[in-house]
């Protein structure tokens, strides 16, 4: 693919960390006005490649050319000047500042009397409007949902005159509906002649956006092809290097015994109290838009947020205290949505992270039982096939999928009755994803009651015995396994989640299960 018109060209890039090769000679070229998807499992080298292309990392060998000009390696400022912008997975916006201030950071408009705020606000409004997002530019960045912040970041990148935009998992943190907006924004950019490269784990996004697909595997470029010539299987096979038979395992039959009983729980911010019963071995999926109150509900159940009224029972015993420690004592386990912010202590080792929730078990009179915890943790990590350089490896050097396995498996060194999962596969690659699904199903089969919030539609459809759609903190609809298998179900869920199917609609719609599923409210 030696394209003469390449806006961005990488030539034979190699990079190793601590003697371990991460990129083994990558060459690629991005043409203006194209969208290229960069796929690959976690740890395949996608982020490293992006960081080299945007000047953050220095390659061990090889070079990056931007419109024919050589990018001085390891110099993000130079990359910026040459028109290469990166939108990182963890957004770099200043939450305390307003939208327009974020857009103009570093290139503020100023006149003889200081900052020209009005001009900046007006100009920000126009730029946002071009991309079809009408956010008030004076809003505080922190008050926006993550999806909109992401779009502001992209808009900011184009506003700086970027000709090449690299997006690291742009959709990993945002809800389904916001993805649509993101897709529009990216298409607008393509039409304006910008070369876009984005990493993703989602086939539907590649289909919706990409002109071309690159697949990295173990630091090598194993696929570089126009999307129209590829089937989904081609891409998945290239990513994992083997055939993938069914991403989702078959669901075992749930039991009858109620394990988790939530009774009239008041969740702050919710429109009404909520009740929910989850049986032994049952996986209940929680669908909904961002801000629907899924995370708030889960965090309240686990005692991270305080509840003013209502009760939570595990196997008939009411949990008192409303703290995570009390929830853990009641044999609950929680895998939070924000892995880096809430799931793991990145500065600590795999072993220590895995010890943390089971401190009582792993210490005697305050002293840690070194050999015992090591063998127990190793067993738990082996069970989820953790790929690491040993239990003493620091969490921050693990790939996202492997971090997630640690955050999940660390609960398994003691019996768990209720497993609460918030976006269990966010930012996790296909290979690790199917493994995590298998683990979840295994755990359900062992008798855990599982509650899983997810923005990934296939996950809700194929991994839940029953799905609840949340809106404003209340259950807007419930779908059983039969309804979940219905072909039009995605549309139903979307309509329930977005409130298009209001309570006032009195015409019974045969495809709409909300009319006969209000019993949980």
């Amino acid at each position: 693919m030696a394209d003469e018109l390449g806006t961005l060209e990488c030539r034979d890039l190699t990079k190793a960390f601590g003697g371990i090769p991460v990129l083994k000679g990558i060459s690629l070229s991005l043409a203006p006005g194209t969208i290229t998807a960069l796929a690959g499992e976690n740890g395949a080298g996608k982020s490293t490649l992006m960081k080299i292309a945007s000047g953050q990392y220095r390659p061990d060998s090889g070079e990056v050319l931007v419109r024919g000009e050589r990018l001085p390696s390891g110099n993000p400022q130079a990359a910026y000047r040459l028109g290469v912008a990166i939108v990182p997975q963890e957004l770099a916006s200043v939450l305390e500042m307003t939208v327009y201030e974020n857009i103009f950071i570093g290139r503020e408009l100023s006149g003889p009397f200081g900052l020209r705020r009005r001009a900046m606000i007006e100009s920000a409004r126009q730029i946002l409007h071009v991309f079809g997002v009408d956010i008030e530019p004076t809003r505080r960045m922190g008050s926006l949902p993550v999806g909109l912040r992401q779009i502001v970041e992209i808009v900011k990148a184009t506003n700086t005159g970027a000709r090449v935009i690299l997006l690291d998992e742009p959709s990993s943190a945002i809800a389904e509906r916001e993805v649509g907006k993101l897709i529009e924004v990216m298409r607008t950019l393509r039409d304006r002649g910008v070369a876009l490269l984005f990493t993703t784990h989602k086939m539907e996004e590649m289909r919706a956006l990409a002109d071309r697909v690159l697949v990295l595997r173990d630091g090598e470029l194993v696929l570089d092809e126009a999307l129209r010539n590829l089937t989904d299987d081609d891409i998945v096979t290239a990513m994992i290097g083997r055939e993938l038979e069914g991403l989702f395992p078959a669901l075992p039959e749930p039991g009858t015994e109620a394990v988790l009983e939530i009774d009239n729980l008041h969740v702050s911010g919710a429109a009404a109290p909520l009740s929910l019963t989850v049986r032994r071995g049952e996986i209940v999926g929680l669908a909904g838009l961002v801000g629907a109150g899924r995370t708030e509900l889960l965090e309240t159940v686990f005692g991270i947020r305080k509840s003013t009224a209502g009760s939570i029972r595990v196997k008939g015993t009411t949990i008192k205290g409303g703290t995570p420690a009390a929830a853990i004592a009641a044999r609950m386990a929680f895998v939070p949505e924000d892995r880096k912010g809430a799931g793991a202590v990145l500065s600590m080792s795999v072993l220590d992270n895995a010890t943390l929730p089971r401190m009582d078990k792993f210490s005697v009179g305050g002293l840690l039982r070194q050999g015992f915890r090591r063998s127990q943790v190793r067993e738990a990590m082996d069970a989820v096939k953790l790929r690491s350089r040993g239990l003493d490896q620091s969490m921050e050097t693990l790939s996202g999928g492997n971090q997630q396995k640690v955050v999940l498996a660390r609960w398994l060194t003691s019996p768990v009755d209720v497993l609460i999962l918030d976006e269990p596969t966010r930012g996790v690659d296909v290979g690790a994803r199917s493994e995590i699904y298998r683990i979840i199903v295994d755990l359900a089969e062992q008798g855990m009651a599982v509650v899983m919030a997810s923005s990934d539609m296939p996950e809700i459809l194929s991994l839940s015995h029953r799905a609840l759609v949340l809106r404003n903190g209340i259950i807007a609809g419930e779908l059983d396994s039969e309804q979940l298998a219905h072909p039009g179900v995605q549309d139903t869920i979307f309509r329930l989640a977005s409130g298009l199917e209001g309570i006032e609609s009195s015409d019974p719609d045969p495809a709409d299960p909300s009319t006969n599923n209000q019993k949980d409210n």
Binding site: G343, V345, S347, S363, L368, T397
Partner: protein
């Protein structure tokens, strides 16, 4: 779990470089010691080593407490003032009850513990930033120290008061023994116990620790309480050494303690650092003080050198940790 065995890294130039970075502090220490040994015959004598240890002891106690606080991402600015307050309280007790010197020791430690606990409560329950909370305590305790003595030092203390710090066992004074025991004790506490791991977890990511069931408020409270109690202990030792109580005792010690912790490789953001590093940082500062004294370097220049050392140590650390591993 797949464990990647990587044999190529051993015995290469890169391996040597990694080693040099990891033990940079030890190497610097060895260089400094060698330099002083070469320049002065007195430096290497047993007497002088004991002198260094005696000077280090009161700092060691507060530096250990400070390490715990800094590991949680906080800072304790009040330890210097707590030293003064507890020294004055101890001296006053000894003057009032000359027969019961042990009571002075108890009172001093209790005063430190109370002051530290107040810091802990303000930080963990009211969520006042540690810098502010302990800055307030710095001023408050310093004021109280003057109140206790009516604005003057407390002298004319019983001889037994001096025995607290000046008694020798195997040629080492009590504060030195206390220092060694504390370093080993805290080393074990931080590395081998559930408590130590919780402290690291709270500093590394408070929310994640909370979700894993750690009672983070209690951990935060405890580190300030421990830091205060250790400052109390340090105060009585300092006061006993000179058999008097002065409200100016310990002034500015908090900064030396923080310097020792930071030179020892701890991050002020929390979650990173070791007791071993702090001990090394402490000995480095004290060795430097002592050696420069012996070489009769003017005190002002000593400060200049110390200042450069602090920044260099941290700069090396930042540079080293930025390198991909």
């Amino acid at each position: 779990m797949t464990i990647t065995q990587d044999t190529t890294r051993r015995f290469s130039a890169k391996w040597l470089q990694d080693l040099a970075v990891r033990y940079a502090m030890v190497i610097v220490m060895v260089l400094i010691i060698s330099f002083f040994l070469y320049r002065s015959a007195r430096f290497g004598t047993v007497d002088n080593v004991v002198t260094i240890l005696i000077a280090a002891a009161p700092f060691a106690l507060i530096a250990l407490g400070q390490t715990l606080v800094i590991l949680t991402g906080g800072i304790d600015l009040s330890v210097g003032s707590i030293i003064a307050l507890s020294a004055m309280s101890g001296a006053l007790t000894a003057k009032t009850f000359p027969d019961r010197v042990w009571l002075a020791l108890l009172v001093a430690v209790a005063v430190g513990l109370i002051a530290g606990s107040i810091n802990g409560l303000v930080v963990s329950i009211i969520n006042v930033p540690p810098f502010i909370a302990t800055l307030g305590m710095l001023t408050l305790a310093s004021g109280l120290a003057f109140v206790v003595g009516g604005g003057a030092p407390i002298n004319g203390l019983p001889a037994a008061y001096g025995q607290i710090a000046n008694t020798e066992i195997f040629g080492l004074t009590i504060p030195v023994i206390l220092m060694i025991v504390s370093i080993v004790g805290f080393g074990i506490l931080m590395k081998r116990t559930a408590y130590g791991m919780r402290v690291y977890a709270v500093g590394g990511n408070r929310l994640a620790a909370e979700i894993a069931g750690v009672k983070t408020g209690r951990i935060l409270f405890s580190v300030y309480a421990i830091s205060g109690a250790l400052a109390g202990l340090s105060g009585i030792m300092l006061s006993s050494r000179v058999i008097s109580g002065s409200p100016n005792l310990g002034q500015g010690y908090e900064l030396d303690a923080i310097a020792a912790v930071v030179i020892g490789g701890a991050s002020l953001l929390g979650g990173r650092g070791t007791i071993w590093g702090t001990a090394l940082g402490l000995l480095l500062i004290q060795t430097l003080n002592n050696g420069l004294d012996i070489l009769t370097v003017p005190a002002y220049w000593q400060d200049v050198i110390k200042g450069m050392l602090i920044v260099t140590a941290v700069a090396v650390d930042v540079w080293a940790s930025k390198r991909p591993v």
